[in-house]
Amino acid sequence: MSLITLSGTMSASDIEANFEDKRAALNTVNAINGKPFQYDHRVNDLTNNAAMVPLATKDFTVPDDMLFVTMGMAMYNPDATSRTITLTLSAITNASTAVAVPSYLMNQSIFVTATGGSASTFNATRYVPATTIYLIKGITYRMLFTSSSATAVDSAFGFVLARQFKRYR
């Protein structure tokens, strides 16, 4: 930022330049051209559900409209037995009734699957959205682990990452 010091008969263009310089500075603050986001990060840890009964759900309500960024999962396989678990994100009417409302996720099917078959391995995977998806203010979202394997999972960890503009509120 730099200001043009005015004196005597002021130039209109100098004043305009000062106005524009400060407007540009605010643009930077508001991160129109910088790193414009603040992140929120939800986790779901399957550690306490190693026996897989019941599979873990994690619900949360979004306080603001936020841009869904990605969902990820990581699973640890303690031995060579194949294990496959899936983490799904859904929107529900409220945390007690859990009626799914796909339209709140742009009718996208959001899930990631991790498969492990080697001893002492850590498998991570990531969902990449095909379209812009917003998490909607006041709506409750659910992270759900499901298994397609007979063998209990040792540990698994999932997260949802969302963001909003830094100067959102």
Partner: protein
């Protein structure tokens, strides 16, 4: 939130009205930006699988952020417990905290309670969150966790933050001569405020990663947790170990090239054993959260011969 276009003056007569309008736009844009300088985020406190046999400390979390913060909303989730639990209450030492209660609803598998209030904590001041279970006898919680929604003031880095208000914008009365000195003062004051506002760009977030019942034979990677790469700046962290003497807990933060960023060992002992405010000024090189190869890893390992009932790390960002 895009600032408005500046007032055009070229080829026009410079009048008090024009200048007043120009400065008012600047100050309104500044206020719109500074009033939204808060960083909002949330963290979770996991109370799942707690039973009446657990020690008092296993129902507590200790949070000591390097910045001032406010709780703005709380969600408490309680799945149907075993035993005659009549109430579960979450309290805190935060100033202004209001106890959040969850009452089991019989056949309903889960109850969710929430509350919106403002509770404040100062920088580097330890705050305690405590879950209190009221029951007629022995009990066991199924899943129970709280989502704490917080905000932190990015402008809290100094008490001189944004001293300008809309009323401070220079104004000229009709017919008043427009002196260069007054115009310069207006721009200079505005520049000072914008500079302060520019400095208030930090990500003031808290994250809590907890593990309960950490097994004795804990293989490396067995409790690895993931932080996706968002170009985040770490500031510090706390590690808490509720294990007994000899049941040491080792926390390691690992970056995207598998290098150790920071590691801390917290010995077991009379719980909780806390190592707080461990400096960790690291910035994630990448900001691509879609690529797992950019992930940071939070790794827990341990020593000793007894299950650690609760271990957690509280990560602070700036």
């Amino acid at each position: 939130m895009i600032p408005r276009s500046p007032t055009s003056l070229t080829n026009e007569t410079l009048t008090p009205t024009k200048l007043n309008a120009g400065f008012n736009r600047l100050y309104q844009d500044l206020l719109a930006s500074t009033n939204k300088r808060f960083c909002y985020s949330s963290f979770e406190l996991n109370f799942s699988a707690l039973a009446s046999t657990h020690a008092t400390e296993d129902f507590k979390y200790y949070i000591k952020p390097p910045f001032a913060w406010e709780v703005v909303a709380v969600e408490l989730f309680l799945y149907e417990p075993t035993g005659t639990v009549t109430n579960v209450a979450l309290s805190s030492t935060l100033t202004g905290w209001e106890t959040v209660n969850a009452v089991p609803l019989g056949a309903t598998t889960k109850v969710v309670t929430g509350d919106n209030f403002t509770a404040k904590g100062a920088a580097l001041t330890e705050q305690t969150f405590t879950l209190t279970v009221t029951a007629g006898g022995a009990y066991a919680l199924d899943r129970c966790y709280a989502v704490i929604h917080i905000r932190a003031d990015r402008g809290n880095s100094g008490d001189t933050y944004n001293s300008l208000q809309l009323d401070d914008a220079p104004r000229w009365a009709a017919g008043e001569a427009v002196a260069a000195a007054k115009v310069n003062t207006g721009f200079t004051n505005y520049q000072t405020a914008v500079t302060r506002n520019t400095a208030a760009d930090k990500q003031l977030r808290i994250q809590v990663f907890s593990i309960r019942d950490i097994a004795v034979a804990l293989a490396t990677s067995d409790r690895d947790l993931v932080i996706p790469s968002t170009g985040s700046r770490f500031h510090s962290y706390d590690v808490v170990n509720n294990g007994a003497v000899g049941d040491n807990l080792v926390f390691t933060l690992i970056d995207e090239v598998a290098a150790t960023v920071s590691t801390t060992t917290v010995n077991g002992g009379t719980p909780p054993q806390k190592t707080q405010s461990v400096t960790c000024t690291d910035t994630q090189t990448n900001s691509d959260p879609f690529f797992v190869g950019n992930d940071y890893i939070l790794r827990f390992t341990r020593a000793g011969a007894v299950i650690i009932p609760l271990g957690y790390v509280v990560v602070y960002y700036t």
